[in-house]
């Protein structure tokens, strides 16, 4: 049968339970803005076993803390990794493709206007082929074209180099996080072995897991031991239990020296190159932007520069300058299309001496013959290596680039909306409501005060009892 001293003891246990409840609410309030934190609930239950009173009754023994759990919606949590991976991929791809002005259709110093002005100057020169001022104007417009190609190539190459820096930074971060996740797996296993649920440790592991998924697009594979394993989209293990793989980068000569990503699996020392599609998330998106639309734009600009300059050179070589000499190039162009736009320039000899411009078809026609200028102008409508003329080739490159960026932005919006929706659902379940926690805190406080009253009453009862004579 319960005596007053037992009542005091049970009240003490109840106070502990309510203190834990207050502490949990306080912990929740403190972490209301902590990313990845899931609100926790202290579960109180009637202390068992109840005290038997006589043969037919039980008197309760107060409240006890049965555990502290965190609020997570398994359904939402299961969908989030894929949503995070897709949204990060789309974000990285769309961001990687933003800010490029090389292919703006009407940019002041863009390719369209530069090429247009070059052919315009040639047309003007047809009416005064011996005029040195007009020759100088053609050379000036030739320089503008070359500079427009140089700038466009630098613009695209700069964007690709920027993505290399991002890839290198992300790879280093992935390696740190993968090690952290492996260590957290080990800690969680140890904690769970004691039967307790390490809520804050689970939150910390989920935060690392979320970030890794966002960076690599890895899928989450929990196992029966309580580990969270991560597998890359192409199938390689990034984290396996408490072992982590390592990512590394190397310059790829076949890809203009841009970084290729390699995977060294856990427990191995052999690094294998990760091909296209082997990585998702921000890394995959950055690589896709770099080696997809940007590489295509770079190739398009290079090919156009090479084809255009080669065609102009071929026509120009057939003409003779005011000095009666022919066979000269107009542009100094690379030997192949690779990198042609970046190095394109007007032939230095021609630039120094406009008389060398091959306007006439023969020495006899110097200085008034403009026949060869008409032949050069014809390169404007001649089919280049892609089967289209100069401006149609440029228009196709502009359309291709515009469509790639447009579709990347559409995907970014779509995937971002899915992520935001699921993140909101996660927050709705796991997030801390200050109102709720204030109520929970007040509830605990009231209960705590009530139990204190019980102690006070019991104490008075004991006092009364002691004073009996």
């Amino acid at each position: 049968m319960a005596d007053l001293f037992a009542l005091l003891s049970w009240s003490s246990s109840s106070l502990s339970a309510h203190r834990a409840s207050s502490a949990t609410a306080s912990h929740n309030l403190s972490n209301a803005n902590t990313p990845g934190f899931a609100r926790q609930r202290a579960h109180l239950e009637a202390a068992l076993p109840a005290d038997a009173v006589g043969a037919r009754a039980y008197v309760g023994r107060g409240a006890a803390l049965s555990g502290v759990s965190q609020a997570r919606d398994a359904f939402v949590e299961r969908q989030l990794p894929a949503a995070f991976a897709a949204a990060s991929y789309s974000d990285a791809r769309a961001n990687g493709l933003s800010g490029l002005t090389a292919l703006d259709p009407d940019g002041g110093a863009g390719l369209t206007n530069a090429l247009d002005a070059f052919y315009g100057a040639l047309r003007q020169l047809t009416q005064t082929p011996g005029d040195r001022g007009a020759r100088q104007a053609v050379l000036a417009q030739g320089r503008v074209v070359a500079l427009a190609f140089n700038r466009a190539a630098q613009n695209v190459a700069g964007a690709r180099d920027g993505l290399d820096a991002q890839v290198a930074r992300d790879v280093a971060r992935v390696n740190d996080l993968a090690k952290s996740l492996a260590a957290l797996n080990r800690q969680v296993r140890v904690e769970q072995a004691s039967g307790a649920v390490p809520n804050d440790l689970l939150d910390a592991r989920l935060r690392v897991q979320d970030e890794l998924v966002q960076l690599t697009g890895a899928s989450v594979v929990p196992d029966a031991d309580g580990n969270v394993n991560l597998q890359l989209p192409a199938g390689g293990a990034l984290v396996n239990g408490d072992a982590a793989a390592t990512l590394s980068t190397q310059k790829d000569a076949a890809n203009r020296g841009h970084l290729a990503v390699f995977l060294t699996p856990p427990g191995s020392s052999a690094a294998a190159a990760l091909g296209p599609g082997a990585l998702g998330g921000a890394l995959g998106g950055a690589l896709d932007a770099r080696d997809g639309a940007l590489a295509t734009a770079e190739r398009d600009i290079d090919t156009l520069a090479y084809d255009f300059a080669s065609a102009v050179n071929a026509a120009h070589r057939n003409g003779v300058g005011l000095d009666g000499v022919g066979g000269r190039d107009f542009f100094a162009v690379a030997a192949s299309a690779v990198g042609a736009a970046r190095t394109l320039a007007v032939d230095p000899g021609l630039l120094a001496n406009p008389d060398q411009l091959g306007a006439a078809a023969s020495a006899a026609g110097v200085p008034g013959d403009a026949s060869n200028l008409f032949a050069i102008i014809q390169t404007e409508s001649a089919a280049l290596s892609g089967g289209l003329d100069v401006f149609d080739t440029l228009a196709a490159a502009i359309a291709s680039w515009g469509s790639a960026v447009d579709s990347a932005r559409t995907a970014q919006g779509r995937d971002g909306a899915v992520r935001d929706q699921l993140t909101a659902l996660r927050e709705a379940t796991a997030g801390v409501s200050i109102d709720e926690e204030m109520i929970a805190l007040t509830t605990s406080q009231r209960a705590y005060e009530a139990v204190l009253k019980v102690i006070q009453t019991t104490d008075e009862m004991l006092d009364s009892l002691m004073k009996l004579r």
Partner: protein, 293 residues
Amino acid sequence: MRVTDRLLFESAAKHAAAARERFEAASREAATGVRVQHPEDDPGAASVMARTIAQAGRDAAIGRALGSASDELQAAETSLDAVSAALSRARELAVQLSNATYGANERAAAAEEVTGLFKDVLGRLNQKVGSRYVFGGFQDAAPPFDATGAYLGDTGVREVEVAPGVTVPASVRADVALKGAGGGVDVLGTLQSLAAALAANNVAGVQGTLDDLDTGIAQVARARSEAGSHLAVMDAARNASLSAHVDGQTRLSHLADADVIDAAARLAQAERALDAALSAAAKSFRPTLLDKL
């Protein structure tokens, strides 16, 4: 759905950012008047814009070149007109002074006039437009005729583009029109012969120039006629080019420019939406139990 404080803040931040982004885009379009600045704004329109800019630029350049060529040919035609007038006057003098009633003094005076006509014609044929001598063929850097009337130019015919890849002659072959290459008469030589015959009081010599003067007048008229027909073609092509250029600019404007009224309406709409998003966010932050406890 359970709404937490962070959900409220994040949602407010997201909506305000989206509204601000739309406001910025609408503001940029209204301020610049440009709808398609980058290919991704409208990939199809951007691609057509590049072609349209090239076509409009080409039409304008062809128009400008035609303008220069037209000025030159116009000058050539005017010179030929003067040559024609000089030949007619020389023929009048030749007919008049073939008459035996005129004496040596009259013929000497006429010889002076014909020499003057010759010099005048020479001056006109050595005319420059801009930096080019009109009648020199491809040899346009130096006067095509020397003081004796010898032709120093060549047989080259200058051309001008009337449409992409299509050219027409834009000069007169002075060797044919004035020096009689290919079976005509040497107009300048004929004037010199007439002057010499008049100066020498050689009636038969004066009479002997009449046929050549007639042929020369016809020959120059033919050259003028050819120049005129080329000019007509060039004028038509120039008008077509300028018209095509204007059409191109109009198409470009339709493709790239923002509809001002539409842009202003969207700006006002975006501004209202931003204001609403900020007001809603501010209101949603206010009610909290913390203020009541």
